[in-house]
């Protein structure tokens, strides 16, 4: 299985505070992490707060400066090293990779119509030449995300959390990317809506041939949608492998603790049993 994204010995640090003279103390959010994301997979990245999973996702998309290590993107026909991209390479990279965010309320500009929000990546990257072409593409992707075409004229304040998340997804897919980082994208949604969005993501993965990096703290969700899982703790990957294997037979004590902490829906059982 070829890797779409290859992470080698990645370290990301953040400065804590500012100093006028000298370097401020740093926080190592990601410590010497190596990871292979297979092409076409739904790859789960699981961890609690402070684990560094969001930082890792952002580093892969070059949204955070990297201190050390190498990230390679290779979709079979185009390859580059993310830390050393040229401007032209970065433009192509941006059209091939996207992110979906956690907070459906903060991720959409309140001043733009839905149509403009979805069209923005197309216009920024200059991927469409005329307004009609852009409109056609917007309608196509909105349809795939089950957004009512009449709603394209509306502003974000007209929509619920779940609907906004679908708009975020449509925006992410407008340029036809191959790799999408979903950063806790169902965490802020109600349970009955979460399932809907997750089903949508899986369907889109099949129809559009996408690779997902699914970042989440919710193990039960990850267990259902992801093929592979990597568990992070305090900036390091403590265990990784195919989902069923990890959940049936967790080897690392942290993974075991995480699984044991999921409350069971059966009042007579303490934790959920994975079979």
């Amino acid at each position: 299985m070829t890797s779409l994204v290859s992470v080698e010995n990645l370290t990301v640090t953040f400065p804590l505070g500012q100093r006028l003279f000298g370097a401020p103390p740093t926080l190592r959010a990601v410590k010497n992490v190596s990871l292979q994301i297979p092409k076409g997979s739904f790859f789960g990245l699981v961890g609690e707060s402070g684990s560094g999973k969001t930082t890792l996702g952002r580093a892969i998309l070059k949204a955070t400066p990297i201190e050390d290590g190498k990230i390679t993107y290779d979709d079979g026909s185009w390859k580059c090293s993310i830390a050393e991209m040229s401007k032209a390479q970065e433009r192509h990279f941006r059209s091939q990779t996207q992110m979906i965010f956690q907070d459906p309320y903060a991720a959409l500009s309140p001043r733009m119509t839905v149509r403009d929000i979805i069209a923005e990546p197309l216009e920024v990257l200059g991927l469409t030449k005329t307004r009609e072409e852009t409109d056609a593409r917007v309608r196509e992707i909105a349809g795939k995300c089950r957004i009512n075409l009449e709603h394209l004229r509306r502003y974000p304040h007209a929509f619920s959390g779940g609907q906004r998340q679908r708009i975020s997804i449509a925006r992410a897919l407008a340029t036809g990317p191959k790799f999408v980082v979903a950063d806790e994208c169902v965490a802020a949604l109600d349970v009955s809506i979460q399932a809907d969005i997750l089903n949508l993501l899986k369907k889109l993965q099949h129809t559009l041939d996408l690779t997902f990096l699914f970042i989440s703290h919710d193990l039960s969700v990850v267990a259902h949608v992801c093929d592979y899982v990597a568990v992070m703790y305090l900036g390091e990957i403590v265990e990784e492998g195919p989902t069923k294997q990890i959940f049936a037979n967790p080897k690392h004590s942290y993974t075991q603790a995480l699984l044991g902490a999921i409350p069971s829906l059966d009042p007579d059982q303490r934790s959920r049993v994975v079979r």
């Binding site: 349970v191 997750l198 829906l265």
Partner: protein
């Protein structure tokens, strides 16, 4: 004799867009020493209900005159009859305590944790300052905070997330309330910390014997902590009963839908089953049974579209908002 009875609670809010109904005809009882879980998604009205018990809703709240909340005891206190703020004081923090989702928002950031706990005790009891301090340190220890004497003098930002929640529980229990209202206390916590806090609360229930009104959207958490479960949707109670009965034999389509939407760890290949549609905005309340537009089991033109179903008994102490002919 129940500890708290809520009868026909109807709450509306005056907004720029009109009068919106947040809670409609909600009735339930909490027995002494019992944990009632109030489950629901956004817009269900569960937080509004809890805040109504403590009269913490804002000035634009309109309570229906038929609503009644009574705290039973010696004497019985009708919460809505207490017009003045200071009449609510002995109840808030005294007979009823409340803990919230964001502990950072509950503690004053510029006053030490200990000082706040002592202040609360001084308001509600006749303890001296040193007695209050002793009890507070004891409570911090009881909730599992290590080195409580030193922590007593620290500020809340020096605590970690889980510790803050424990401190909030400690503060809520120092006055030995008869009812503890917990509004999404574990939602903001990591799952491992959540487990610890749930275990802690179960221990404290055994020790203190207080009742808890546990509000959350997480059915797993309720399964582990509650004796009784009430499921709310769009301001109405859809189903109510002992937690085992409701979770194992859900009688209402919404409860079934909610349970089906949860990822099932026993069968990782099973598809996820969302509830179709979206939660309607508060301005567009459906008629009849508020859940009917999303109920895939209903045939078009059914009674549920126009009539509000009554709370029908479907099992021992187990009620659901269905018409008697639809009880399975």
């Amino acid at each position: 004799m129940s500890l708290l009875s809520v009868d026909n609670l109807t709450i509306q809010f005056r907004t720029d867009e009109g009068l919106i109904t947040a809670v409609e005809n909600v009735s339930f009882d909490i027995q002494p020493g019992e944990v009632l879980g109030l489950a629901g998604e956004s817009g269900s009205g569960k937080s509004v209900t809890a805040k109504a018990i403590m009269q913490l809703n804002g000035h634009n709240t309109v309570y229906d005159p038929a609503s009644k909340i009574v705290l039973h005891g010696d004497p019985d206190i009708d919460v809505f009859s207490l017009r003045r703020e200071r009449d609510m004081l002995p109840i808030r923090g005294g007979a009823i305590s409340m803990i919230f989702q964001e502990p950072m928002a509950s503690f004053a950031p510029a006053i030490t944790v200990g000082k706040q706990m002592v202040e609360q005790l001084q308001v509600h009891t006749t303890m001296s300052k040193s007695q209050a301090k002793e009890l507070s340190v004891e409570m911090l220890d009881r909730v599992g905070i290590t080195d409580p004497g030193r922590r007593f003098d620290q500020y809340v930002f020096e605590y970690s997330g889980g510790m803050r929640q424990r401190a909030m529980i400690a503060m809520a229990l120092t006055t030995k309330p008869r009812l503890l209202i917990a509004d999404e206390p574990t939602t903001a916590l990591d799952v491992t910390i959540q487990r610890q806090v749930i275990d802690l609360m179960k221990e404290l229930i055994d020790d203190f014997g207080m009742s808890i009104l546990f509000i959350t959207h997480d059915l797993g958490v309720i399964a582990q902590t509650a004796d009784q479960l009430a499921v709310m949707y769009l301001g109405r109670i859809m189903e109510r009963g002992p937690v085992r009965n409701v979770l194992r034999n859900p009688a209402h389509a919404y409860t079934r839908g909610l349970l089906n939407a949860l990822p099932n760890l026993e069968d990782l290949d099973a598809p996820l089953m969302p509830i179709p549609g979206d939660i309607p905005s508060p301005l567009e309340r459906p008629s009849g049974c508020v859940f009917h537009p999303r109920n895939a089991e209903l045939a078009p033109g059914s009674r549920y579209e126009t009539e509000v179903p009554p709370m029908t008994e479907v099992g021992p102490s187990h009620f659901a908002a269905v018409f008697p002919e639809d009880v399975r």
